[in-house]
């Protein structure tokens, strides 16, 4: 078969290219540019080569924030994924309660991120916050502004509260799309609740759960606003995640070169991990 060559079609994609160039490629290239130069202000730049990248990769500070970031992301994924699936399984499939449940589930997602941070900050304050006060009242020595463990507890609880809904809604949509015949067949085949989950629901949810997992992975790995408002990275540096650290370097210390190099490393880590997760989770789909 002869393929018709029609290069005029490129003209139609040109506006999109221009747009993408403007909002993605150009800013990214600026960062690449910064990451290889040294500046002392006055808009004067000097070539620095890969020195900032070497610094970042060897920096203990970066390793520490990366470690905290990994622990945070792993923890929230380990909690939100199973919890989200469990809640979705418990939600009613039909009747008036469906919309009630959906609205309740969607609510946390509709709250601006800095408001979430502020809400939880006040909610968890040991003296006047409801959560903090109650925890102290029942005998815990809880103070998230002083004790790193408590800060982490509050941070993870806040993220679970804010984002489990996303997993719930995606899983619920996936569950709703399973035809009744599957459940009927399972009933006829004598399958129990666990077998139905393991052999029907989970396989059918695989695609939406992959999406939920990737979204939660990327979002939580880039999280900034909520921890910034809640703990500001403290106490000390105990909740300083990658993005908070990056902003400290870029805007606090105004070290443009190191910050740019860190941004790129940060970006590549997310890209690489997303690709790995996606490939691993989708490896059986092709057969």
């Amino acid at each position: 078969m002869n393929k018709l060559q029609n290069n005029k079609a490129w003209l139609f994609v040109l506006p999109v290219f221009a747009l993408v160039a403007f909002n993605a490629i150009i800013p990214l290239m600026t960062v690449v540019n910064y990451s290889m130069q040294e500046t002392f202000g006055n808009n004067e730049f000097f070539w620095a080569g890969v020195i900032w990248f070497q610094d970042i990769l060897q920096s203990e500070r970066f390793h520490a924030s990366l470690g905290r970031q990994a622990i945070f992301t792993a923890s929230i994924l380990a909690i939100e994924m199973p919890l989200g699936i469990a809640i979705a399984l418990c939600m009613p499939r039909k009747g008036p309660w469906v919309s009630v449940c959906l609205v309740l589930m969607a609510l946390p997602l509709l709250i601006p991120w800095n408001v979430v941070g502020a809400m939880w900050n006040i909610f968890a304050l040991p003296d006047i916050g409801f959560l903090g006060h109650m925890l102290n009242a029942i005998g815990f020595d809880f103070n998230f502004t002083r004790q790193p463990g408590d800060a982490w507890f509050t941070l993870i609880l806040m993220d679970v509260w804010h984002w489990t809904s996303l997993v719930v809604l995606l899983a619920y949509a996936g569950l709703s799309s399973i035809p009744d015949a599957y459940y009927q067949a399972a009933k006829i085949d004598g399958a129990g609740g666990w077998a139905i989950f393991r052999f029907i629901q989970l396989p059918k949810l695989k695609r939406v759960l992959t999406i939920a997992f990737l979204l939660r992975f990327m979002d939580s790995f880039m999280i900034y606003t909520e921890p910034f408002v809640l703990t500001g990275g403290g106490p000390g540096n105990s909740t300083t995640l990658l993005s908070i650290d990056l902003v400290k370097i870029a805007l606090g210390q105004f070290d443009l070169g190191p910050a740019a190099a860190m941004s790129l490393v940060y970006f590549l880590i997310i890209l690489a991990l997303s690709w790995v997760f996606y490939t691993v989770m989708m490896r059986n789909e092709e057969q």
Binding site: P179, A181, Y182, Q184, A185, K187, I188, D189, G190, A191, G192, A195, F199, I200, P203, K204, Q287
Partner: protein, 362 residues
């Protein structure tokens, strides 16, 4: 293995049914004999799937009882009734191999693994899935998946009845025929009761020993394919089964003699028509039993001739009423005026849709 009795069965989806229209399934008494091949045939929305779900236990009827042998199973769930079902769209467990799919119902019932293995291999051979036994079930084509669905029913020794809910819907036409003959062959081999729901007359008539024809929630006739063809019990059966369907013509009956457009027609049952009963009278005769007659007969005009390949379909008009007939290939059809003759023993009078009982053949 059991015979299935439907005892005064009715079903309404809404609460408090009063009028007959409120019922998705009208009153029905019937027995499916053990080991028979049955088809439930009717157009979409006629209630055949409702009936199927009542037998399988996915739906509890609002009135009446379902008996398996003498046991009342009306309130029992599908897994307690020991039935199997093949659905319209193939249901397989995607992540499992074909083997594990077939083994699944047995393993759920705690059958020892050695027995499972023997049974799975036996059934896989029966349904031609031996070669793909270790493949992932999700990789099979639609007909392969339907075979798995069927196989999950066949592996179990406790199955009372295997139900098919339009199982060939998503199968390619050239495979439909193969799968249908396979099904027929399997039925003869395993001698299980099978109930096959379809809106396709070819599927129903080739598969079943007995066909239950349904229309708007009502069973209109139960009979062998030959009975349905030769003696339709209701006008609906006449025009739903057959291609083209039965000619249904307004008629008059006077003193045991039927008249079509003022011309006398010999029928098998006009003598049983009682004067004064309610409902319109109509004459039913299949195109196969109408022929062109050169001498005397019912005066008609030829309107159109179309060629179906095996025979010619001739459309004529008797008065205003269209009458179709089938004529063999190669026979010249006269244009314009002609005369028709109806085979008397295959021409019947229907009152209000239903065959008038009695007459010469009864």
């Amino acid at each position: 293995m059991a015979k299935i009795t439907l005892d005064d069965l009715r079903h309404a989806y809404g609460p408090n049914p009063e009028r007959p229209e409120d019922y998705a399934l009208q009153q029905l008494d019937f027995t499916f004999e053990d080991g028979g091949a049955y088809a439930l045939l009717g157009p979409s929305g006629c209630g055949k799937t409702t009936l199927l779900n009542i037998i399988s236990g996915l739906l509890t009827p609002s009135h009446g009882k379902v008996l398996f042998d003498e046991e009342d199973v009306t309130g029992l769930a599908p897994d307690q009734r020991h039935i199997a079902q093949v659905f319209q769209f193939p249901v397989v467990y995607d992540t499992m191999s074909v083997y594990d799919n077939l083994a699944f119902p047995l393993r759920n019932r705690g059958v020892p693994e050695a027995e499972v293995d023997a049974k799975v291999r036996e059934i896989a051979a029966m349904i031609d899935l031996e070669d793909t036994l270790m493949n992932r079930a999700s990789g099979l084509t639609a007909d392969g998946k339907q075979k798995i669905s069927l196989g999950r029913g066949l592996v179990r020794s406790d199955v009372n009845v295997i139900m098919f809910d339009e199982p060939l819907t998503v199968i390619d036409p050239h495979l439909k025929w193969q799968l249908r003959s396979k099904l027929k062959e399997l039925h003869q081999r395993v001698k299980r009761t099978m109930v096959y729901v379809t809106h396709d007359q070819t599927e129903a008539l080739t598969f079943a020993d007995k066909v239950v024809v349904m229309n708007v929630g009502e069973v209109v006739q139960i009979g062998t394919p030959v009975e349905l063809f030769e003696t339709p019990g209701h006008e609906f059966v006449g025009h739903f089964i057959g291609s083209p369907g039965m000619n249904i013509l307004d008629c008059e009956v006077k003193g045991g003699q039927a008249f079509l457009h003022g011309q006398p027609v010999a029928t098998s049952n006009a003598s049983a028509v009682k004067d004064g009963a309610e409902g319109p009278l109509r004459l039913g005769v299949r195109p196969e039993f109408v022929s062109l007659s050169e001498t005397d007969g019912i005066a008609a005009d030829v309107v159109k001739v179309s060629d179906s390949g095996r025979y010619q379909i001739v459309e004529t008009r008797v008065g205003d009423a269209p009458v179709k007939l089938l004529v063999n290939e190669g026979i010249e059809i006269p244009a314009g005026k002609t005369a028709l003759s109806f085979r008397a023993d295959r021409t019947r009078v229907y009152r209000d849709g239903w065959l008038v009982a009695g007459g010469a053949e009864a």
